[in-house]
Symmetry: C2
Subunit: 159 residues, 2 copies
Amino acid sequence: MSEGVEWALHTCLNLTWVETDEAMTAARLAAFYELPTAYLNKQLQALARAGILTSTPGPRGGFRLARRPEHITLLDVVTAIEGPGEAFRCEEVLRKGPGGRAGVDYRKACVVSQAMRQAELAWRKELAGQTLADIKETVERRAPRTPASTRDWLAGRRP
Amino acid sequence: MSEGVEWALHTCLNLTWVETDEAMTAARLAAFYELPTAYLNKQLQALARAGILTSTPGPRGGFRLARRPEHITLLDVVTAIEGPGEAFRCEEVLRKGPGGRAGVDYRKACVVSQAMRQAELAWRKELAGQTLADIKETVERRAPRTPASTRDWLAGRRP
DNA sequence: GACATGTTACTCGGATATCCGGTGTCCGAGTTCGAGAGG
DNA sequence: CCTCTCGAACTCGGACACCGGATATCCGAGTAACATGTC
C-alpha cells in the first residue's frame, strides 16, 4: 500500500483540529511531519479530487476539510489515494485454461475471485465503519492536549 | 497485490485434483493457463519455502501439495507469495511531528495505525477462514466435471 | 536372468536483465491581497 | 477619507525525472531413470 495513505490520514486528522474558516497550506501541513512539501501536495490534490478536501488558490489559500469529520470514513481517504481498484485484481486466468469460455465474466464467476473479493469486502467494511471523528475522539481521550497544541502549531504559534 | 497470488491460488487448487503420489512439473502447471513457465516456477519455489508444496528434482520430479487441502488456508498462500509484511506499514510519522517521543512504539500506540491494523486483521481472518478444500468443494458442486477434466489434462491426456 | 554401473535427460533453484508504478521535484496558471494614486 | 486600479506575491495544479520492486528469463546443480555390460 502506498506511503501517502499514512500521510493523508494523519493530515486529515490534523485538519479536524484547525478552525474551519481558515485554510492550511500544503507547506505548513508537510512541515508538521517533516514531509516533502510537493509530494504531500500531490496527495492533497487527490483528496480534493475525491471531494474530501476543498482547495483555494492564492494568498490565504490552502486546503480544508470539505465536510464534517463524522462524514469522512477511513475508506474514503484510502480510496482517494489508492484509487478505486481492488488490491486483488482478478485477471481471469481461467479464460486461458482448457475449460475457458469466451462469454463468461470470471471476475464474478470464479470461486477464487469471489473468496478474495469477500475478504477485501470485510476489509473495506472495517474501514468504512471508522470515521475521522471516531479517530479524533479516541486521540483526544488519550492525549487531551493534542487539539490545542496541534491547532497552535499549525497556526504558526510554536509552543 | 502481486499477480502471482492469483496464479498460486489456481495452481494449488489444480494440485488438489491430481493424484497425490505423482508430482507435477512447473512447465505442465504453467501450460494449463498459458503462463510463463520460469516465472510460475519462482512462485512455486516461494510456496515450497513456505511449506505449502514439496518439490522433488530430477525426472518424474515436480511439485505436490505438502499437506491436505483442509489444512491449507488462502491466507497461507497469500502470505507465501506476498511476504509476511502488512499492506499498510506504519512508518511512525508521528515521531517526526512536534509531539513525537523517542521511546514510544508508534506502530502500537498510534490510533491511525491501530485502525488500519484492525481492518487488515479482518481481511486476514476472512482469508484464514477459507481453506483450499472449501474452494475445491464449491467448484465441484458448481462444475462437477472439473476434477476429472483437470486431472486428465494435467496427466497429459487431453480430452 | 539379476545386478552393478555409467550415462543421460530431466527438474528445480538461484542468479541475472527488464519494465512499470510509486516517489520525488519543478515550474506555470490563477487568485487574492495590499499599496498607491486619484477623486 | 474613500475608491479604483495596478502590481506583486502566494497558492494550487499538472507536467517532468528518478528509483525500487514486481515481472520475466536463463543457465547450472542435483537427481532419478534407463541402457549397458558383466557375472
